[in-house]
Amino acid sequence: MVAQIIELQSVNKWYGEFHVLRNINLSVKKGERIVVCGPSGSGKSTMIRCINRLEEHQKGHIIVDGTELTNDLKNIDAIRREVGMVFQHFNLFPHLTVLENLTIGPIWVLKKPKAEAEATAMKYLNRVRIPEQASKYPGQLSGGQQQRVAIARSLCMNPKIMLFDEPTSALDPEMVKEVLDVMVGLAEEGGMTMICVTHEMGFARKVADRVIFMDRGEIIEQNTPEEFFSNPQNERTQLFLSQILH
């Protein structure tokens, strides 16, 4: 049996009266790379934000690496240590330098010594190819650089799972590639479970094991990228693809 690292079982969520997630069932294998797409407001972001409890689901079960997400703060903390997240708007800490952004989690959550945390941070800054920016503040970097720092910040926590919430949507067009390159590198290295909400279909074709299409809070269709793009089954998927692939 292949280990399922993430299990969503009949997950439902409402914002007030609005039913934002409808009976979501999803199993993710260890090391699997998943791209989630769909029209805006379809619940994609909400779904992945439920996985590290930035949003609370109201019905169903979410099990991450064998731990169920409940109101138990201990479980939430344990899961957040395993799950890294990259946000649309980076959410770097503007009052801390790049290096401090990268080491605050390892030092305080993982209780690593400062020197070790800084060495790890520099390793990942090298990997996202901006080691020379270590002592700058996020506000002094371009959007693409900030997002790469944000990816490095998540990697410094040595997570088993990485969630990407539209990581390139807030970037100027010329900066999208530098961020995608880093993500492709991460995916091709293997071993990391990745769930990416993105509209970058080139990225999906290149690295995804599975593409999931969501609309109005439901998972409508999921398939391998080849099948998904060449032979979409549902008419809503067909409509969506015709709108974004011009």
């Binding site: 590290n52 930035l54 799950v83 708007h89 503007p94 305080w108 959550v109 503040y137 998540s154």
Partner: protein, 362 residues
């Protein structure tokens, strides 16, 4: 390869002193009128004031008649009375003690403003300073004569009330602000109640309550020192206002910052202490310092319960029958003292804002 166009200097008509005058002082008819009016007001008021305060002033007179004869300001009055104004009714021969206490307090404050000292080292400095100041002011040990705190007065008293008022109200106010934004209804309600109740009452009535009503509630034979009661009233009062200022800062921090901290697995304390509060407090430095300045000046309200702060000891100095009628000089002197302290705070806050700027956009 083509080179980029060279950048040119701006046209001279938009720079230089003449352009500055034209742009800033005479840019429109209304602006020109206001400029001329201001210059006229300055010409009308400044020369007579300088004549009174400096040219015709008397700095050395031995009696009030002699002092008044010149028709100008009588600064000799300050020379005769400054010790009463600065130290109130504190025994004359022991006044080196409040002077030293004042210097220690000011030194402590200055050290605390230097970022290099923003570590745990401040704790022993403040505890040690507090003990030193208490020993100096009260005495009773080390061969120092015991001085009851009802005799304390003047500048050291104002500094003690405002320094400890601000220093203790600050963490208390931050806790209240966090409590008011808490998701736990009991804590939230308690904080809201506290803040709204205290803000709904003038400081004077809090001082009255602490001095008149509080003893009624306490068991017989149990009493809290009058000065301490005033200090507590000031702390409780300042904390409520501080809480609202800090809450304003907390609300200015985007939700993404909380989520960023959460996604790293930081605990509530770490999230607030390292991520949210440093940013929130930075945003509210200007209103925070305004509040500190207000607390500093509001300590003068303790006269209402018979404590001789800087303002009140000045009034006492004016009652000497041999030196009647120099209230303008006396109040200018005290105002200058208040001004030096308040202006320093304001200047420091501007520096702090500049130093803490990290060029973040959103």
């Amino acid at each position: 390869m083509t080179t980029a166009t060279e950048s040119l200097p701006p046209p001279t008509s938009t720079t230089g002193p003449i352009a500055w005058v034209r742009e800033r002082l005479f840019s429109s008819p209304l602006n020109a009128i206001l400029t001329i009016l201001s210059v006229w007001l300055l010409l009308m008021s400044l020369p007579p004031f300088i004549e009174w305060a400096l040219i015709k002033a008397n700095f050395t007179a031995a009696t009030s008649q002699e002092c008044r004869a010149g028709g100008g300001a009588c600064w000799a009055f300050i020379g005769v009375k400054y010790r009463l104004m600065l130290f109130g009714l504190y025994p004359y021969d022991e006044q080196w003690r409040p002077l030293l206490a004042t210097i220690i307090l000011i030194a402590m404050i200055i050290v605390s403003t230097i970022p290099r000292f923003w570590t745990v080292i401040l704790l022993p400095i403040w505890v040690g300073g507090l003990i030193l100041v208490s020993v100096l002011m009260w005495g009773g040990i080390l061969g120092l004569k015991y001085v009851e705190d009802t005799l304390w007065g003047g500048l050291p008293l104002t500094l003690i009330l405002s320094t400890f008022g601000i220093a203790i109200a600050f963490p208390f106010g931050v806790a209240l602000a966090l409590g008011r934004r808490s998701k736990m209804p009991a804590i939230k309600t308690l904080c809201v109640l506290y803040i709204e109740l205290i803000r709904g009452v003038p400081l004077i009535s809090m001082l009255f309550m602490s001095s008149v009503m509080l003893p009624l509630f306490l068991p017989e034979g149990f009493s809290i020192d009058k000065l301490l009661r005033a200090q507590i009233a000031i702390i409780l009062f300042a904390a409520a206002y501080l809480a609202e200022v800090v809450r304003g800062g907390l609300q200015a921090i985007p939700k993404g910052q909380y989520e960023g901290a959460d996604s790293l697995g930081l605990s509530y304390g770490q999230k607030m202490g390292f991520i949210i509060l440093p940013q929130a407090l930075k945003v509210v430095i200007p209103p925070l310092v305004s509040l500190f300045i207000a607390v500093f000046k509001d300590t003068s309200l303790v006269v209402i319960i018979g404590i001789y702060d800087l303002m009140q000891s000045t009034k006492v100095a004016l009652t000497d029958p041999a030196w009647r009628g120099f209230s303008i000089e006396a109040y200018i002197f005290v105002s200058m003292i208040y001004f030096v302290f308040c202006y320093s705070m304001s200047k420091y806050s501007q520096n702090l804002e500049k130093r803490l700027a990290t060029g973040h956009k959103r």
